[in-house]
Symmetry: C2
Subunit: 243 residues, 2 copies
Amino acid sequence: MTIAYDGTDFAGFQIQPGERSVQETLEDAITCVTGEASRVEGAGRTDSGVHARGQVISFRTSSKLNPSTLGRALDASLPDDVTVVDVREAPAGFHARFSARGRAYRYTIWNERERPLFDRKYVYHWRAWLDDAAMDAAARVLEGQHDFAPFCGTLRGRDRPTDTRRHLFRLHCWRDGRRVVVDAAADSFLPHMVRNLVGTLMHVGTRKIGISDVQAILAGRGRQGAGGTAPARGLCLTGVWYD
Amino acid sequence: MTIAYDGTDFAGFQIQPGERSVQETLEDAITCVTGEASRVEGAGRTDSGVHARGQVISFRTSSKLNPSTLGRALDASLPDDVTVVDVREAPAGFHARFSARGRAYRYTIWNERERPLFDRKYVYHWRAWLDDAAMDAAARVLEGQHDFAPFCGTLRGRDRPTDTRRHLFRLHCWRDGRRVVVDAAADSFLPHMVRNLVGTLMHVGTRKIGISDVQAILAGRGRQGAGGTAPARGLCLTGVWYD
């Protein structure tokens, strides 16, 4: 199932005790429609405040409803900040997360002195002009297969990835009027990786660092110049692909 | 001062005891910046849930700050759902409401089977296809100087207008992809007038009534066919003009 959600009022995709999660909201809707308890698996475990236009989830059901009827029934059972985009029957063994070959994210910066109003929950407001051409040049340096450990958020226990090598297929940055957009696609992303990449690109955009600094950060030297983690609200999971 | 706001979390423009209003929010910010208590007057007294991109307000101040500095200071003192767009010193006797020569509103219908997600607070969701060409033809019948009493909301006491004649300069309807947009401009609008006009146009769009029924409603006959009051969230005050 492809779904979209406004991450503002969720503590993230993954179930957490006492918190409102996308996963639990979906599982509750499935139980409501099918009468069965189902475990939902998501392709991207988005953080609190991160949005999705093209998240993919999978679950098992013995429901006899055809996929589009099931989708409509689920959509009607979901709150107004989660919606069903598409439903398909998957081949045996399909798993939204483990079968995924790539994920795409978009980060949107509102680069204008005036505050964003209607978009304020979906963009990061940055008043000073960003050099989007320099950001794009730096982005291209980061594309390819690398050890992205310098861009991985610190995590405890079982969530810490053992292998931090990833294939970043695409990292592009451009200006669209008052917005500066960063598009990232990779086989998979480390925790906070997109937001840390954006934080570094913004240091390039404000001319605090240059391309050689970005190369040094990627090589594991000079993490102090890397910039912070850009806020969650500017980030959106736009798509996931499969074989 | 031209301001914009997201009406979702306001009880409307006008001060009401115990409620969060745009007017009181502005007056508090002005007091915070200038140290003076000022009465704010707004060109359009928008209802609860109605948005604005181009509301105009006026107030008196003895502040020595120049207009743009005052605007920035006020903007910094306002919550994230109200923002200052432009500030100018007005001629003596200027009153945002009484000096206004016209107001423009836009109503947006999300006409698609899928629910709106990121726009859900700014559009009215209508699943069944709307005949936007028929709606536009009916809209043109309503343009001009008429007694718009059939499109006036029921009001008590001092808020009830004594003269219900208005000059509707423009009422256009068109499709923009999955949106059906209604643009209305008039010297001034009666309470609920835009939302009642849209309710009637939607009855035309769903082919419940035709142009002759709209003419009858405008003539004060057949109010029962007029359709309801379209929800506040689809409505936005887009601009106000002055001599």
